[in-house]
Symmetry: C2
Subunit: 421 residues, 2 copies
C-alpha cells in the first residue's frame, strides 16, 4: 500500500533527549507509513493527500503500556478497596464472564471503540484466560487499526475456579492463540502470565520457553502492593525479590518485557531493574486508587530504566494517557513532598516524553516525528475551552488540554501512516 | 414567589450521620424554596409543576467552599511550580488584569457560565482587590441564580505593586462593596483578607471589626504550604501558629469562617481547629498540584472539625466538586499509605457527604433532602457511559459518574427551590 499525506497543523513533540520541539503551522510529510519530514514550508510533492488541520494541535500517538481490556466495563466502580480484595471481589468474577463470547463481543466492542477515539495509538493489553474471546478482541483492534500487543492471560492457581486453567491446557491454549494470530498485521500476541501468585512454577517455565523460542514479548505485574509482595515471598521463599522470582523462571528479559507498576522495585530489586529488555509500566491512577503507593519514576529515569505510562484500567478509571501524564506529574509531587525529597517531581514535559517516546520504545521506536519513524499521531482540538487567556505556546496548549479535557475524543488519528479518521 | 414542583427521578443523598439514602424512582415535593417531602409514591398535590426526570440521578447540590473566580482563565496551566513562586509568576499578574472592567466582564462571564452548569449550587468565592469587577462578578452570579458568598480581596503588603492596596483605601472599598451588595438576594459579601502575608496587622484588625459588627462571614487561607508557614512565622513572631496569627487579630471565629487548605493544621494548630465557627475547605487537587501536601481529612472528621471541599481553582484545575470528591478519596489513600496509617482513607460516600452536607453547613444547612431544607439539587445523566455492566445501585451509579464524567454539564439544576434549567 503506497500512500502519502501532507498534514498542515501545529506540531508538538519532545526530541530524543526530552526537549520540547514546537512547530506551529508546519507540514508533516508521511509516506508509506513513515515520517519523511516536518517542515515550516509546504513540501513540494504532487502525489500526497493534503490534510488541512490548521489550528489543531498534533502530537505523536501515545502508548498505553498496561491495560486490562477485560476490566473496562467496571471502570470507576468499587474504588474503596485494596488490590487483593478487589481482585477477588470484583475483578475475577468479571473476567470470568468472558467465557461467554456474546458478553466478550459486547464488552470488547465498547473497549475498542473508546480506545480508538483516545490519544493512544499503541497498547499492551491483557485480555482474560479465554482464547476465543481474546482472539475476538485482537480482531476488533486489528479492524480498528490500532497497533497493539494482546495477551491471552495465563492463570493456573490462586484464583476463583471459573478463572483457573489446567496447567497444560493453559500452555496449549497459548500456543493455539499464537498460531491463530499469525496473519494479523497490527495486532500481535504477547506472553501474559498474570503475576507470580496466579502461575505455577511449571507454567512460568513453559511460558518463558515459548517467549524465547518464538521471540515474543512478555507482560506481567511486579511489586504493585505490599501484601502482594509478602504473598510472593511466601510462594517463592528461595527468591530474594519479586523480580528474582520471574528471573528464576526465565522471565526477566531476553525478550522485551513489560512489568506493570514496580511501586516497590527501587527498594526490592534495584539491580534487576537496570536491564535493557525490561520496561516499567508506570500506572499512577491505579496505584492511587488501589492504595498501592507511588512508583519512583524519577529513580527509574535517573537509572536509565525503560519506562512508559499505563492506564491500568480498571485499577485506573480511564483509557486516557493524557490523563495518565497529569496523574504522573501529580503523584510525583506528592512523593517528593511526603516520601523522599531526593527525587524532584516530574515536569509536564517529562511525563509527556515518558508517555510518547518512553512507552513507544517498546514498539520499536515510536512517539516522535523523526525522519523514518512509523507515523503515529493524533490531532487534538483544544479550541473548545473558553478562556480569556491569549498567546499560549504549543506546550502550554497541550498542558491545558491534558489537565482539562484528557478524555475528549481526538479529532483525527493516524497509526503507522494509516489515517483512521 | 410561590412555586411548587414535584420531581420524579432517582434520588441519592447521605443522611445527617453520613449513611447512604437511596430512593430510586421517587418523588420530591418542593414548595416555596424548600423540601416538603421525598416519597416513593406521587404526592397528591394539584398546584405543583410536575418534572419528569425519570432515569436521571438527582443529588443535593454541592458546595464549593473555596474557589478563586479570578484565576479561572488560567486553569490547567503552569502546574510545575510551588505556591509562592506560582503566586508571583502567574497569579498576581493575572489578578491585576481585573482592574480593567472589560477583561473582568469577559472572564467572569465564562466563570459564571461554567459554574452554572456544574454540580455546585453554593460557593464561597475569592474575586480580586478590585471593587467594581468584584461587584460585576456578584451580579453575574445573582443573575444566574447561584447562591454564593463573594469576597473583594484585601491585600496591602507583599504583593506586586498593581495588586497592593493602600490600607485605608482597602477598608473603605470593602465597606463600599458591602453597601452596594445590600439588595442582592442569593449572593452575599464575605470578608476576604487574602492571607496573613498579604495583610498588615492594622488591616486584619479593621477587617475583623467589620465582620463582627455586621455579622459577615470571613474566608482566608491557612497552613497550605511549608514555606508559607515559615514566612508567616517570620512576619508574626509573637504568634505560636499560623492560626494563632489570625486569632490575635480577631479573625478566628465569632462569625462563620472558612480557612482553605489546613494541610499542616493537625500538627501546627490542633487545638484551635476545634472551633464551631471554623470550616476547613479541603482542596485536594490544588494541594497536589502545588506540591503542598495532603490535608488530614480523617483527623478533621474524628475531631469534629467542620469541613467541606474546595476546587481552589486555579491551584485546582476544575470547578467540578464531583471531581474534588474523588480527588479527596485518592489523596486520603496516598496519605494513609505513605504518611500515617492511623487515619484510614475516606470512602466515596464519606467524601460525598463532606461535599454536600459538610460544605452545605456553612450556608445554614443545605446538602440533603430533609424536610424544610432549602431545595438545592442537580440532575445527572449517567446513561451516556457505555458499559456491559447492569443493575448498579444509585451509589454505584454516582461513584462511576464522579470518576468518569465529573465535568459533564448537569442536566437540570435547582437552587433554593428555583429551577435554573
Amino acid at each position: 500500500m503506497s500512500s502519502a499525506y501532507v498534514i498542515h497543523a501545529d506540531f508538538y513533540q519532545t526530541d530524543r533527549e526530552g526537549m520540547a520541539l514546537e512547530m506551529p503551522s508546519s507540514y508533516l510529510l508521511v509516506r508509506d507509513g513513515r515520517v519523511v519530514s516536518l517542515t515550516t514550508s509546504r513540501p513540494d510533492v504532487s502525489d500526497a493527500t493534503f490534510l488541512d488541520w490548521s489550528g489543531l494541535l498534533v502530537i505523536p500517538g501515545l502508548t498505553d503500556l498496561h491495560v486490562h481490556a477485560s476490566q473496562y466495563q467496571f471502570r470507576g466502580l468499587w474504588m474503596d478497596e485494596e488490590l487483593l480484595e478487589w481482585l477477588n471481589a470484583h475483578t475475577f468474577p468479571e473476567e470470568a464472564k468472558y467465557k461467554e463470547i456474546s458478553y466478550a463481543s459486547q464488552a470488547y466492542r465498547i473497549f475498542t471503540d473508546d480506545l480508538l477515539h483516545s490519544a493512544t495509538t499503541r497498547a499492551a493489553i491483557f485480555a482474560t484466560i479465554h482464547e476465543d474471546s481474546t482472539l475476538l478482541l485482537a480482531r476488533y483492534l486489528e479492524e480498528a487499526g490500532i497497533a497493539a500487543y494482546v495477551g491471552k492471560v495465563n492463570m493456573d492457581r490462586n484464583s476463583v475456579p471459573e478463572l483457573t486453567e489446567d496447567s497444560e491446557a493453559s500452555v496449549m491454549s497459548t500456543l493455539s492463540f499464537i498460531e491463530k494470530m499469525k496473519d494479523f498485521k497490527n495486532v500481535k500476541p504477547i506472553i501474559t502470565p498474570r503475576f507470580i501468585p496466579s502461575c505455577s512454577d511449571w507454567l512460568l517455565d513453559e511460558l518463558a520457553c515459548i517467549a524465547k523460542e518464538r521471540g515474543l514479548p512478555v507482560q506481567s505485574h511486579l511489586s504493585e502492593n505490599q501484601s502482594e509482595g509478602e504473598w510472593v515471598h511466601s510462594l517463592c521463599p528461595e527468591s530474594v525479590s519479586y523480580a528474582d522470582a520471574y528471573r528464576r523462571h526465565g522471565l526477566w528479559g531476553g525478550v522485551p518485557t513489560i512489568m506493570a507498576h514496580c511501586v516497590y522495585s527501587m527498594e526490592a530489586e534495584p539491580g534487576l531493574m537496570r536491564n535493557e529488555d525490561i520496561f516499567v509500566a508506570h500506572c499512577p491512577d491505579s496505584n492511587t486508587n488501589l492504595s498501592s503507593g507511588i512508583a519512583p519514576a524519577r529513580w527509574f529515569l535517573e537509572n536509565g530504566v525503560n519506562m512508559g505510562l499505563g492506564s491500568d484500567v480498571a485499577g485506573g478509571t480511564t483509557l486516557s494517557i493524557l490523563r495518565a501524564i497529569t496523574d504522573a506529574v501529580k503523584v510525583s509531587k506528592l512523593r517528593w513532598r511526603l516520601v523522599d525529597q531526593r527525587f524532584r517531581p516530574l515536569s509536564f514535559r517529562e511525563a509527556f516524553h515518558i508517555a510518547s517516546r518512553g512507552g513507544g520504545a517498546f514498539f520499536g521506536g515510536v512517539g516522535g516525528f523523526d525522519e523514518g519513524m512509523e507515523a503515529d499521531l493524533v490531532a487534538l482540538d483544544d479550541s473548545v475551552r473558553k478562556t480569556a487567556i491569549k498567546d499560549l505556546s504549543l506546550e502550554e496548549r497541550l498542558e491545558r488540554h491534558a489537565y482539562l479535557a484528557p478524555e475528549e475524543p481526538v479529532t483525527h488519528k493516524m497509526v503507522k501512516g494509516r489515517l483512521l479518521f
